[in-house]
Symmetry: C2
Subunit: 148 residues, 2 copies
DNA sequence: ATACTTGCAAAGTTTTTGCATTACA
DNA sequence: TGTAATGCAAAAACTTTGCAAGTAT
């Protein structure tokens, strides 16, 4: 269903009078396809291969743009900088504080929880847009390594 | 109850064989007392007043340490860098994407939700420590400003 | 046609590091 | 006393900006 998600993303750009450029297309396509939660640098280095004169600044600019349009979410990584995730359905993350891996958690109850959290945050006239949940901890692999 | 929280924090340091230095004391005290969710720079500039030769590196080092000891949590701020929060009881944040203000949300159901989220994240042997929840959006004041 | 976007390089920020000095335990 | 922590300054890393050239609509 990559196509549907991609089309929706393109529509979101159009709705907001944002021009559709090849750079924006490949960045969004990559963000939809990957489940790596990549950093800016990773995105740049991967896309650079097929788009040699892509610039880092363009990646930065567009990630910021996509974030503003609620197409992607940004999360801080313990190793500095941020990681990005195409966010088309409510889910949250388990992030390993040791190896910095980010794992998607698909919890059937999450949409409901999300709703509750946004309602709770709406006190005092606050108007919610996106909820970001990170469960920090240590992944299985790192626990096993530590055991040694 | 600042004293109790401070004592607990000191004990956490001792338990981990971390030396108690004046720098660590004032940083923790400040983190307990403030409800500002300060940035590294704010922390540094405030404490520098009463502790003139405090160094930025020390603030960085200790915030990282406190984070590792789960005394504080770190959250990315839209204006770049991070904001820090002494985290002694489960709560979450509403963060304004316009003015970057961070508001504590004390939801009576949050401890339960927190528990649920950690359980959901525990699939595949992941071992959770701290849950971080940010509801992004626009605060009342910024909505009013935008209306004009 | 014309405004928005890009790419490049340079500037600006933020964060980390190395090392001599200091001070907890 | 011995080791960990600090402070300083320099280095590294990260992110933004200015502007000429290119391009989507």
């Amino acid at each position: 269903m990559t196509d549907k998600r991609y089309e929706n993303a393109m529509n979101r750009l159009k709705e907001n009078n944002v021009r559709i450029t090849p750079q924006r297309q490949i960045i969004l396509k990559y963000m939809i396809e990957t489940d790596e939660h990549p950093s800016v640098e990773t995105i740049f280095h991967i896309l650079e291969k097929t788009f040699p004169n892509l610039s880092m600044a363009t990646v930065y600019n567009n990630l910021r743009l996509f974030k503003k349009l609620n197409l992607i979410i940004e999360m801080p990584s313990v190793d500095g900088g941020y990681r990005y995730d195409f966010y088309d359905h409510p889910h949250f993350h388990a992030t390993c504080d040791n190896c910095n891996k980010i794992i998607d958690v698909d919890d059937p109850e999450f949409p409901e929880i999300d709703k509750h959290l946004q309602e709770a945050a709406s006190k005092d006239g606050f108007k919610p847009t996106v909820t970001s949940v990170e469960v920090h901890g240590i992944c299985k692999e790192c626990q096993e390594k530590e055991a040694k």
